[in-house]
């Protein structure tokens, strides 16, 4: 479907300057074809920068060109024309947006010669998007995996883009107005909106896009090998350039592999972190986006990861689907596979008691500790402060065939003393205690600890302190 047209207009009606009316009823036009087209698609915004070239025959003098984009989602404020050949002999005199013909503009081009020239038209459009997704397949032993990244381009712009060079921008750009919104209004309405905004921010969008537009030569026909996706860093962005050209008709989407890592090493850790994974122990594959892990050629854009495992029976097991956020080169990749029915995780409260009880005498400012030798406490006193002691066991039963590593991170609000002799116990933050332990295959482990919570007037802080003490059940 072709919605964009460029017309060169041969004037039958007087039409020599921009000051004259463009209204006319009889036109004769030629339609120069699009020769090349390049799409630069941003995934953080509904924004695509389109740059196309066409060859136009100019006559000496003024040459009116009409550019229209019915049924598309082009931002009229972004349409620009530049002259790729013979720029010294061509000059853009003015641009007119007719009030009675939305989605159309006229350029008056002054030419010093009769002959052909290549022009470039660029504009922003919405309705083209791209996304990433990943497929991981672990080996049977769960030591290595294949890790494939894909990009999928969806064209809902209203325009067919044939043989287009496609570049995908990874990163978050700043837009002060949505392209889809600008595409729905006339140029005069857009100008009104623009005047309300600061001029310096109004052009940031254009600068952001233009700064990443490094033209590359068009690649030729598809080879029988998968196309390469070239990754380059630029400023705060990463650009994926898909080798050669692609045709993506309106409404279609196309998915291509962007990178692949084979035998990517990873390790397994079980984690209890209620704030991140809910109130359950989950199993994770942990790997790193770096060269040592046979990855690290590109940051991983936001996307969905689907995780499978070779089940050792000439088939796959589906493990999980997870969305990931942008992962820079060198950063960790954490794939949450959910609970493992072969690992049982229980928090068992073994006993509770209270001590260090303080009484407030007659509601005044006098406090007495219960059990203090030689001190008589008035019967009209009330409990004002105490310490709650709770002995608990974090029981882990490992019925899987492998030794496992378990990390427990649990928050204890209030003024808390955490007493234990647990391995590698530490404070994750002011109120969160973390410890990591290993449980052999087929073994049960009781991780004992005592939590002392200072209550009432005994509470002086709102944090956890860790005390090394041997706890018995």
């Amino acid at each position: 479907m072709k919605a964009l047209t460029l017309l060169t207009i041969f004037l039958l009606v007087a039409f020599s300057t921009a000051s004259k009316s463009l209204a006319r009823n009889i036109d004769l036009s030629t339609v120069p074809d699009r020769q090349t087209v390049q799409l630069t698609i941003y995934n953080s915004e509904d924004l695509t920068f389109v740059r196309e070239t066409r060859t136009v025959t100019f006559k000496e003098g003024n040459n009116p060109l009409q550019f229209s984009w019915a049924n598309t989602l082009i931002d009229p404020t972004s349409v620009e024309i530049t002259f790729k050949t013979r720029p010294d002999g061509l000059a853009l005199v003015d641009t007119t947006f007719p009030h009675d013909k939305p989605k159309m503009l006229y350029w008056n081009v002054q030419s010093d010669f009769d002959g052909e020239a290549t022009i470039q038209i660029s504009y922003f459009t919405s309705g083209i998007s791209w996304s990433s997704d990943y497929v991981c397949i672990s080996d049977t032993d769960e030591r290595e995996m294949s890790f494939e990244g894909f990009v999928r381009v969806l064209n809902s712009s209203g325009e067919d883009y044939e043989a287009a060079q496609i570049r995908l921008v990874v990163g978050t750009i700043n837009l002060v107005e949505k392209i889809a919104q600008l595409a729905q209004i006339t140029i005069s309405q857009a100008e009104e909106l623009r005047e309300q905004e600061s001029a310096k921010f109004g052009i940031l969008r254009k600068q952001a896009a233009l700064s990443v537009m490094v033209r590359r030569g068009r690649a030729v026909a598809a080879a029988p090998a998968p196309k390469k996706v070239i990754k380059e860093g630029l400023s705060e962005y990463f650009i994926y350039t898909i080798e050669g050209t692609e045709t993506i008709p309106n409404g279609w989407s196309k998915r291509m592999r962007s990178f692949e890592g084979q035998t990517v090493p990873f390790r397994i850790q079980y984690r209890y972190r209620p704030a991140e994974y809910g109130d359950r122990l989950v199993r994770l594959y942990l790997l790193t986006n770096n060269e040592d892990s046979k990855l690290g050629t590109t940051p991983l854009p936001d996307g969905v990861v689907r995780v499978f495992r070779d089940n050792g029976r000439d088939g796959l097991s589906f493990l999980a689907t997870q969305s990931i956020k942008y992962i820079p080169i060198g950063d960790k990749i954490e794939l949450n596979l959910g609970p493992d029915p072969n690992v049982i995780f229980e928090l068992i409260k073994l006993k509770a008691h209270r001590d260090n009880i303080w009484m407030q005498v007659r509601g005044g400012n006098v406090f007495r500790r219960v059990g203090q030798p030689g001190v008589q406490i008035d019967v009209r006193s009330t409990v004002a402060g105490w310490d709650d002691h709770s002995t608990q066991s974090q029981r882990i039963r490992n019925y899987s065939a492998k030794d496992i590593e378990v990390q427990v991170r649990r928050a204890w609000p209030g003024h808390v003393r955490f007493r234990s002799s647990l391995p590698a116990v530490k404070r994750h933050d002011f109120q969160t205690v973390q410890f990591t332990t290993k449980v052999d295959a087929g073994e049960k482990q009781d991780n004992l600890f005592e939590v002392v919570t200072l209550q009432g007037r005994n509470q002086k802080q709102n944090n956890v302190t860790i005390e090394a003490t041997r706890i018995t059940g």
Binding site: W252, M256, V370
Partner: protein, 401 residues
């Protein structure tokens, strides 16, 4: 036979790129590779993975492999296309170039490049909705109620609107089955059988769990359970037992069985107990009264609360039984003191009279469990009376206010 809603086509070399013209009429030759093998993987708790293998004829150059589905719930994002290595013979050089998704259709088109003309074995994997599994169990209890035979079944319900011929089915444990599963068909398969599993028949009185059978008379409801241990010592313990209905029959001693009840068996990890509720035991009677409720002031508004709970127990059965008596201590404290929201700090008193004391294995910081052996009713006593056994729980809740 209904045509399959899944179609798989290889379009020979007339078209190199996918264009909008795909939907238009054109001369083309389509081959329809059949399924060579299908596996249904049911090892994920919430998803069903279908894997199918087909032998795909490819011509040298770029081929289009078209996969479409109608009226089935395939998660298109999960579709994997993998070329398998041949068991023997030369490997065809095959590359998947890209996948195109047409608008408004449940379909996709792989662009597959082949280095030469030939056939490639490919495996397509996808998550399929409405193909579900459930588990159920059938237990036959020995006449003397000391052991049972337990059979574990998996039921696969195919509501996916797709028929599967001779399909491998695997639950993630146990054996793999090779079965045809037709559209809207449900197939039940025996996964495992556990023979002569020792059975523990329990009677439990726990007012805060099971309530009263006659509240004005303070008579407690006494449910009867069968308790099994999912461990190797008890001829089980191969894998966790998934949630499912357990139907229980008993050998009636006459060569046949009688249905005696059913219950939902919860997910039971290895080494855990599965407890099946059979019904209320009417012949074991227990009356719970409070003999003592006394506060002891420590200081000001701080008290220890002393309670003696009295249990009058009678067994009207002709066999001796053991009654489990449990108290939820937070509920007990709340019942006779007040709900403070705090943990209970407690101490057993010397008047606690259960013969073997507290069951420390099963008791927790807020639950106590005792076992009361009860003799059989004297069959020679024509009055029909049972011996009344009296036990006490003497407990002090400490530092309450």
């Amino acid at each position: 036979m209904r045509p399959s809603p899944l179609t798989f086509k290889v379009i020979s070399g007339l078209l190199i790129t996918v264009t909008a013209a795909m939907a238009e009429a054109r001369i083309k030759l389509i081959t329809l590779p059949v399924r060579e093998r299908v596996e249904i993987q049911l090892d994920h708790p919430n998803a069903t993975l279908v894997e199918e293998e087909r032998i795909v004829p490819l011509v040298k150059g770029v081929n289009q492999v078209d996969f479409s589905w109608a009226n089935t719930k395939i998660d298109s994002g999960t579709i994997l296309f993998r070329v398998l290595e041949p068991g023997d013979g030369p490997q065809l050089d095959v590359n998947v170039l890209s996948v195109s998704y047409p608008p408004g259709e449940n379909a996709l088109v792989w662009q597959v490049a082949a280095g030469d003309s030939g056939s490639a074995r490919v495996r397509i994997s996808y998550l399929l909705g409405n193909l579900k599994k459930s588990f159920n169990y059938r237990a036959v209890v020995a006449h003397d109620e000391t052991t049972l035979d337990l059979r574990q079944y998996m039921r696969v319900m195919n509501l996916a609107n797709e028929a599967f011929d001779a399909t491998g089915v695997w639950a993630g444990f146990g054996q793999r089955f090779l079965k045809p599963i037709g559209i809207n068909e449900t197939k039940e398969m025996l996964i495992d059988r556990f023979a002569a599993v020792p059975l523990n028949k329990t009677y439990t009185a726990s007012v805060h769990e099971f309530g009263y059978i006659d509240q004005p008379k303070k008579k407690l409801r006494v449910p009867m359970h069968y308790v099994l241990n999912n461990d190797r010592d008890n001829h089980m313990g191969k894998a966790p037992l998934p949630f499912g209905k357990v139907r229980i029959f008993q050998d009636d001693g006459k060569g046949t069985t009688a249905f005696i009840g059913e219950d939902w068996g919860r997910f039971t990890p290895v080494d855990d107990k599965i407890k099946l509720y059979l019904g209320v035991a009417q012949d074991v009677s227990i009356k719970r009264t409070i003999e003592k409720n006394q506060r002891h002031r420590i200081a000001g508004n701080l008290y220890n609360v002393e309670l003696i709970v009295n249990y009058e127990i009678e067994n009207f059965k002709d066999q001796p039984v053991v009654l489990d008596v449990a108290e939820q201590l937070v509920n007990l404290r709340n019942e006779f003191w007040k709900n403070t929201g705090r943990d209970v700090e407690w101490e057993l008193g010397e008047k606690t009279s259960f013969p073997n004391g507290l069951d420390r294995e099963e008791s927790t910081f807020d639950k106590v469990l005792f076992h009361a052996p009860l003799p059989a009713r004297d069959a020679n006593d024509k009055s029909g009376k049972a011996k009344k056994i009296i036990h006490r729980l003497h407990i002090t809740f400490k530092n309450e206010w």
